[in-house]
Amino acid sequence: MAQAPDLLAQTIWEGLVSGVLYALIALGFVLIFKASGVFNFAQGIMVVFAALTLVGLYEKGVPAFLAVILTLGVMFALAVTIERVVLRPLVNQPDIILFMATFGITYFLIGFGESLFGGSPKQMIADQLYLPKGAIDLKILGGIVSLQKIDIAAAIIASLMIAVLALFFQYTRIGRALRAVADSHKAALSVGISLNQIWVIVWFTAGIVALITGIMWGARSDVSFALEIVALKALPVLILGGFTSIPGAIVGGLIIGIGEKLGEFYWGPLIGGGIESWLAYFIALGFLLFRPQGLFGDKIIERI
């Protein structure tokens, strides 16, 4: 006799998985913010764009792994272009101007991506990239919890990537330079850090993160521009975790992911369902009132 799934454990697991994916997007934001002080609104669309490029190249007949490499090339080109066209002329502008400039990047990429690949959803080439399929059933608390293998893979890849990034930031020359740039463009320039180079590196890193996120996300559901709205979920995650903290992005992502799934499951039916669309923001907002800098964020000190 098949056992009924344990709903609580299953819900928590699903929350964990979506939390990992939110965390991955948030990670892209954090990387760019930490390393250049730019709040990159375009991270969500970069995920879509990377995934679409990958699938689009594959559909053109490029072998899957070559397509991955080519997509990385495209993301590098994108990073260079953004640095040349957008960031370089805006050095030392107020943060809010740079933030708005990333809106411009977002809209440009939406239009560009749609005209290149069309607006219809595409199937991610999960099989060709040897991503695992199927599910494992676990017995927890007297019920069955079904774990999708792809989700487990996503969690493992995410943790690996985070470890690598944390080490990179903490212990390498470039990592230190990145942190210097985030503190002050001017000061970094004056000690001989090449701002342009740093920006390309960091946007390219964010592009790699975007590609991985895109693959993982696309393997669970289709690759489409609908992801762009889901990517906005990364904002409450950031607030919860703090803008500058990589572990914060992870913990925040997991809290938001689990919180919103549990909320949807237990309270959603009481007030009409679909509360997932805003619950994350309210969790973040409530949290903001008590700790404006987030869980792991740097405290903002203002001097006059």
């Binding site: 957008v86 977002t106 990429l109 669309s277």
Partner: protein
């Protein structure tokens, strides 16, 4: 030559404080109003009025609202569309409860509900600012959009889940509903926009506007000078949401003639209005109009203008090009002219003033 102030003496304080100190400006405004009032309905056909002029007016009002918040007070908001939705839905509820009251009064009243909700979501602004506040306003966007769909009371429990605009008249002429002609709807929009712009202009030139700008320029300094931050920020949220609410009510009742929140008051609309403010010019009322004219007319121009010039462009491609163009323009404007079209206009006026001798 034609734009010179020589000989226009100011003999009292009122003249010195005037919003349009130059006679040429006053004439210019009168001419623009004259064209809007007489020229447009005379020359424009129904299509032009219904799908270019009315959207332009609605978006201008919404852009003024956001400009008060973002341009004058420096608080970034990504939830304008939600506040427009509050206006639209409260106007709809008001028409059901008070069928006898004139629709124009109800449209103006519905802004008050939007203002109240705006203040509610503006409350966190005292403790948080910048990007954090942007996320707080996103909370408003998603929560309200959800509420518009999930709370059946808001759309009177009807099956379609949409606002159905009833027919209402003004001086015996139908101004809402299917029977209203584009011209009458246009005149109502124009009247509302002109009156509210005048109201906004007085606000931003007055004490309240000064305190908003002080908060924008440096909030801590403003506080030291005795400006109450909470009051300034919350009034900015209230006034801004009021304008957005009225714009939203106008959008549904005078432009769309009915609609569903899910299709209309989306985050895309919020972004579009933000772009109008950026491209038009932060902290400028005339910039709001310019930005609205620009962003609102861009898709139409691309869709109908380019094929007319012989460039073949399908509807979908036009949409993509619009996206790319808007994105590129935002970046270009931020780099080249952060103060937007309004600043270009100012530069042009200054050039005219010294013309033909540039120095």
């Amino acid at each position: 030559m034609f734009y010179r102030e020589a000989g226009q003496y100011k003999t009292n304080y009122a003249a010195d404080m005037a919003v349009f100190p130059l006679r040429q400006d006053r004439i210019g405004i009168a001419v623009i109003l004259g064209i809007a009032l007489v020229g447009v309905p005379l020359i424009g056909n129904d299509f032009f009025i219904a799908s270019v002029m009315i959207p332009f007016l609605v978006f201008s009002l919404a852009a003024i609202g956001l400009n008060i918040l973002t341009g004058y007070t420096g608080l970034i908001s990504l939830g304008t569309a939600a506040f427009m939705g509050v206006g639209a839905y409260s106007c709809y509820k008001l028409t059901t409860y008070f069928p006898g009251v004139n629709i124009v009064v109800l449209i103006l009243l519905s802004g008050l509900f939007s203002a109240a909700i705006g203040v509610l979501f503006g409350l966190p602004s005292l403790r948080i600012k910048g990007f954090y506040l942007a996320v707080a306003t996103l909370a408003a966007q998603f929560f309200l959009q959800w509420a518009f769909v999930r709370v059946p009371w808001l759309f009177n429990y009807n099956a379609s889940g949409a606002i159905e605009v009833p027919q209402r008249t003004l001086f015996g002429l139908p101004i809402t509903g299917a029977a209203a002609t584009p011209e009458t709807r246009y005149f109502v929009c124009l009247g509302l926009v002109v009156v509210l712009t005048w109201f906004a202009s007085n606000l931003v030139h007055g004490k309240l506007g000064r305190s908003w700008m002080a908060v924008r320029d440096m909030d801590i300094a403003a506080e030291l000078m005795g400006i109450k931050l909470l009051n300034a920020k919350l009034t900015a949220f209230a006034v801004s949401s009021y304008f957005a609410g009225v714009a939203g009510a106008m959008m549904i009742f005078l432009w769309y003639g009915g609609g569903e929140a899910n299709d209309v008051f989306t985050i895309r609309l919020s972004f579009n209005i933000l772009f109008m403010v950026i491209i038009g010019g932060l902290g400028s009322l005339i910039g709001s109009f310019m930005g609205a004219a620009f962003i609102a007319s861009l898709p139409t121009i691309l869709k109908f203008g380019l094929p007319a010039l012989g460039v073949p462009l399908s509807g979908a491609a036009a949409e993509h090009v619009t996206f790319m163009l808007v994105g590129a323009l935002i970046i270009i404007f931020l780099i080249v002219e952060p103060h937007g079209l309004a600043r270009l206009w100012q530069i042009g006026k200054q050039k005219l003033r010294t013309w033909p001798f540039p120095y």
